[in-house]
């Protein structure tokens, strides 16, 4: 299980499992795993996936983000566009873009499973790897 967690946290890569690539009897399983882990490629370090084609740019995610409220109380906190240089999310050209994932509460050692942005997205444009 430890390897699986490290795989999901991107501390390990599938290639690090030597037998999976060297022993032909695992080739079928390897293909299944590669398919299973495909969403990881489009997700950020926190597991956040943004489908820009579904986004209408309502900005709910930007305003509800607890980090934005704390760091930008007179900008995103009161419903305006972020006034800080490095927000986690910003609406650009009408759709939400990930600007600085490092600030997200799901990032780093003390991470928590915050889902405020996903829960308040009416377009279902935001999802996380875990669902």
């Amino acid at each position: 299980m430890s390897f699986a967690f490290k795989l999901l946290n991107r501390e390990k890569k599938l290639e690090d499992c030597k037998p999976l690539f060297e022993d032909p009897k695992y080739s079928e399983n390897r293909k299944k795993l590669e398919e299973l882990l495909k969403p990881l490629e489009e997700a950020t370090e926190t597991g956040l996936i943004v489908k820009e084609e579904l986004c209408v740019g309502c900005g709910n995610c930007v305003v509800v983000c607890p980090v934005h409220v704390a760091d930008d109380p007179h900008g995103a906190g009161v419903g305006r566009g972020p006034t800080i240089e490095d927000p986690i999310l910003r609406v650009e050209n009408g759709v939400v873009k990930i600007v600085n994932m490092n600030k997200c509460r799901r990032y780093g050692k003390n991470r928590i499973l915050c889902v405020a942005c996903r829960d308040n997205c009416p377009s279902e444009a935001i999802s996380f790897l875990e669902g």
Partner: protein
């Protein structure tokens, strides 16, 4: 920059290195693509210079016995004032999209039949926020994040989960209703009147169809001294007569202060309503000949009943928005279109006069859906704008 995309008139738009920040998809498109699909001056399909097109428009209006002036919901108040002057000078009809949109709801606010407030106060103080027949996700994408449910306000510091109570009333599962989760209520209605009736019955202590929902809402209303109802097209078309709704708002105000704001229309539709209201006491479908507003003076009715022989259409696309059988009648009359872009209406128009995009190429004032007047900014001013064209037409008649 101010976004002229809808009646939210968001004032926090930034354009940095050709990237539009903070505007929703609709607003961003306006800034990103304002140079595309531009109209050119034309008379009977042939390209001419602008002044020739304006002269042709003046000739049509002069020769016309029953012209109609229509549109202006995306033009600044100053241009709308010129439109009213023109209609008065021609002694004829004037109308805008609000006659089939939310004009009736704006009218009850302007006539002070229900108490109203501003979006800024909603952000700072509102607790119960009701969307009745409105789906801001579609019509005013940033309404909830910029002004109502999500932002923190002066007396609403704890965020939406504790400091707001959301009520969504609709006939179907809208995108906005999906956001009514904790500390919220979503009510599916088949008939808006039944819900209004339930409020009255519950308050009189009688059994009611929506008793549970009504009880929950009234309980929450009592917790605050600032609540708001946003009424959309669903409310307007759900009720044949607005009197029961007006009575309900008055009754709710006996319990706790509850304000009303019409929600979900063109950028400056309310500006048109206010401009005409100041001049005539009516918000739309007005005839200067009869000195009154009437259902039969709505642009759609005038067309349907063959009561006009020409139309000056500004900043709107009736061929796209009106029923096909009604729009078809535009082909039978002389049509003048003033619009910055090519549209379906400009394709069938006898005269097309290009103009400027409000909030990008021409400044002025627009009225937000809550009645707050907002000064527009521009990226680049162009000489031939709505002021230029309307002033020339006024001078020529």
């Amino acid at each position: 920059m101010i976004c002229p995309g809808c009646s939210c008139l968001c004032d926090d738009i930034e354009i940095i290195d050709n990237v539009v920040r903070n505007a929703c998809r609709r607003g961003a498109e306006l800034f990103l693509k304002y140079k595309e699909n531009r109209a050119t001056p034309r008379v009977n399909g042939k390209e001419v210079d602008v002044d020739k097109a304006i002269e042709a428009a003046i000739d049509i209006l002069k020769d016309s016995k029953n012209p109609a002036i229509y549109g202006f919901d995306t033009t600044p108040v100053e241009v709308q004032e010129l439109a009213v002057k023109l209609a008065e000078k021609l002694n004829t009809y004037i109308d805008d999209n609000s006659s089939f949109c939310l004009g009736d709801l704006v009218e009850i606010v302007l006539k002070k039949e229900v108490p109203t407030t501003t979006l800024d106060d909603v952000r700072d103080y509102a607790y119960v926020i009701m969307y009745w027949g409105a789906n801001p996700y579609q019509s005013l994408s940033r309404h909830m994040s910029r002004y109502t449910y999500y932002p923190r306000g002066k007396e609403r510091q704890k965020g939406y989960e504790e400091d707001r109570f959301l009520v969504v009333i609709d006939i179907r599962r809208s995108e906005t209703s999906m956001l009514a989760k904790t500390n919220a209520r979503y009510i599916i209605v088949k008939n808006d009147l039944e819900l209004i009736d339930s409020f009255f019955k519950y308050m009189e202590g009688k059994p009611a169809k929506y008793a549970d929902d009504v009880a929950a809402i009234i309980r929450e209303l009592k917790k605050s001294n600032f609540n708001v109802i946003f009424g959309g097209l669903g409310l307007k078309y759900g009720l044949k007569d607005l009197k029961p709704f007006i009575d309900l708002v008055k009754k709710l105000n006996e319990i706790s202060p509850t304000y009303f704001i019409p929600t979900g229309f063109h950028a400056n539709m309310r500006g048109f309503n206010e401009t005409l209201f100041e001049k005539t006491g009516f918000v739309n479908k007005y005839s200067f000949r009869e000195n009154k507003s009437d259902k039969s003076f709505a642009f759609t009715e005038l067309l349907k009943n063959d009561l006009i022989d020409s139309a000056l259409i500004v900043g709107t696309d009736p061929v796209k928005s009106l029923p096909f059988e009604v729009a078809l009648k535009l082909k039978k009359i002389k049509t003048i279109v003033i619009d910055p872009r090519n549209s379906l209406t400009s394709r069938i128009a006898d005269v097309v006069i290009p103009s400027a995009i409000s909030g990008i190429e021409q400044g002025g004032t627009m009225v937000r859906c809550d009645g707050v007047r907002v000064k527009l900014e521009t990226i680049e001013e162009v000489e031939v704008n709505d002021y230029y064209v309307m002033n020339k037409i006024l001078e020529g008649i």
